[in-house]
């Protein structure tokens, strides 16, 4: 469980959400990304391939992070959402706010 950040080719910071993204750990994700932004990173890919569920706090954390990254001239993309997770983004219309790719590889290809 947790958030594993790695730098992948293309200068993208890939963060794997292993487990859930919910009220109890959203702050940890925000800290991981914010620290990378403070180090000068500008491209982020949040990978949900290993994620079970997300609650509204988790969605809110992503909205907040996306805004911060954009304010620094960067971009935050999402990938690897299963059918259930994708339905949450569609239900809340957040699929219109984020660039969402089916796989991390597809998201990285267009960065």
């Amino acid at each position: 469980m947790g958030f594993a950040l790695s730098k992948v080719p293309g200068g993208v910071c890939q963060v794997r959400v292993e487990g859930q993204l919910i009220v109890g750990n959203r702050q940890e994700l925000k800290s991981v990304v914010q620290e990378a932004v403070d180090r000068g990173e500008r491209k982020f890919l949040i990978d949900f391939s290993q994620t079970g569920y997300i609650d509204s706090s988790g969605l809110g954390a992503l909205v907040s992070l996306s805004k911060k990254v954009r304010e620094q001239g960067g971009e935050l993309r999402l990938a690897g959402l299963n059918e259930d997770l994708r339905s949450l983004f569609e239900l809340t219309k957040l699929d219109t706010l984020f660039a969402i790719a089916d796989t991390p590889e597809q998201a990285l290809a267009g960065f």
């Binding site: 009220v23 609650d55 509204s56 706090s57 954390a61 909205v63 805004k67 706010l97």
Partner: protein, 161 residues
């Protein structure tokens, strides 16, 4: 709504699983006392999910997903908005597990809120807003829900479709 006696905060999660005979066949009741700590939410969701989906009970993938998100939402609301993350208070989770339906209630020790002020159709916040989606999600993920008149307890119905 369950008739709980609210007491001092439990140090550990405690589950009580009781078979209850009923006119439509027996069902199982599960009760948990949860500390007012958002760090407990994932563990409680896992417990509720496990109890709701064990044995011969039918539980589709979508049912389990909706159940987990709805319980996480209700718990977060009870711990943060209801109990103000006061660790001396607890949240009580009660579930009636039946063959075709799960009835879940989440009760906090807070003062509640004006239930009559709730909009019949919770709106989505602006896309850039980081909060305000909790009740909207519950409304769309469960088959039915209501608050008690005091506003400190939510009861949710999820059918096993």
């Amino acid at each position: 709504m369950p008739d709980f006696e609210l007491g001092p905060a439990a140090l550990r999660l405690c589950v009580r699983r009781t078979p209850v005979p009923g006119p439509g066949g027996s069902f199982v009741e599960v009760s948990l006392r949860v500390p007012s700590d958002v760090g407990c939410v994932e563990e409680v969701v896992d417990l509720v999910d496990r109890h709701c989906c064990q044995g011969q009970c039918i539980a589709s993938r979508r049912f389990r997903f909706n159940l987990r998100v709805a319980v996480a939402e209700a718990l977060a609301n009870a711990i943060i908005a209801g109990n103000g993350e006061d660790h001396s208070k607890v949240v009580l989770v009660h579930a009636e597990l039946k063959d075709d339906v799960v009835l879940l209630s989440v009760t906090d020790e807070g003062p509640g809120f004006d239930v009559s002020a709730l909009p019949p159709e919770p709106d989505l916040p602006d896309l850039e807003q980081s909060n305000g989606r909790g009740l909207f999600l519950i409304r769309h993920l469960v088959d039915d829900f209501y608050f008690n008149p005091q506003g400190n307890s939510i009861c949710m119905t999820l059918r096993r479709h």
